[in-house]
């Protein structure tokens, strides 16, 4: 298990949802948020580990950290 000091403004709990649920949840929230908002996406979907960083890079946002909690991941994203 690893930890992070990042404080998120918005937590999105997508645990239990299969692909592309977590990514869609994240995109939906990011689109309507203010620039600079930090999101924590909680996901149990292993494909999120690849899909989310790819989308974040393509959309010019910033992936701050990925924390492995053993039974789920927290992915921290800052909106550009």
């Amino acid at each position: 298990m690893s930890e992070t000091d990042i404080q998120s403004d918005v937590t999105i709990d997508s645990r239990g949802a299969g692909c592309p649920g977590p990514l869609m949840d994240l995109i939906g929230k990011v689109k309507t948020a203010d620039s600079g908002t930090v999101f924590e996406l909680q996901t149990t979907d292993s494909s999120s580990k690849n899909d989310v960083p790819e989308w974040v890079e393509k959309a010019n946002h910033e992936l701050l950290d990925v924390v492995d909690h053993d039974d789920y991941w927290s992915m921290f994203v800052r909106k550009s």
């Binding site: 949802a17 299969g18 649920g21 869609m24 995109i27 689109k31 989308w55």
Partner: protein, 132 residues
């Protein structure tokens, strides 16, 4: 990139889900997507079919419907969510409806319009066409 026009002609749940997943993520990423549902692909959107989860399918479809650990959103849910956040338009095939004496109101509330072949070809003129 001017986007994709997806011809959805299959009623198999695996294909419906694959189309919905790809179309949803693309549209959410601001890639224009038009989905033309025709033949059995349109019938899968029949409100009773959706309500009763009465879809054709194989192993993956069965696993998806029975899975308790992984909640996979049904294709209608993914498409509905994507329409709210990205450029996704859905069209129902006029011929398919005429053959069964149906109207667009008989299907899930996702369709923007009803199209014939000519209308679809016009819509798809600047897009890459994917046939499923």
């Amino acid at each position: 990139m001017t986007g994709y026009a997806i011809v959805l002609a299959s009623g198999e749940l695996e294909r419906l889900q694959a189309v919905a997943n790809i179309a949803s993520v693309a549209a959410a990423s601001d890639i224009p997507i038009d989905v033309f549902a025709t033949m059995d692909g349109l019938e899968a959107f029949d409100t009773e079919t959706v309500e009763n989860r009465a879809f054709e399918g194989g192993k993956i479809a069965q696993a998806m419907m029975e899975s308790e650990d992984i909640q996979v959103p049904l294709f209608t849910e993914s498409l509905g969510q994507a329409k709210e956040i990205g450029p996704l338009s859905m069209y129902a095939c006029e011929l398919s409806m005429d053959l069964l004496g149906k109207s667009v109101d008989d299907y899930a509330d996702l369709f923007d319009d009803v199209l014939g072949v000519s209308g679809f070809l016009t819509m798809a003129a600047d897009k890459q066409v994917i046939f499923v």
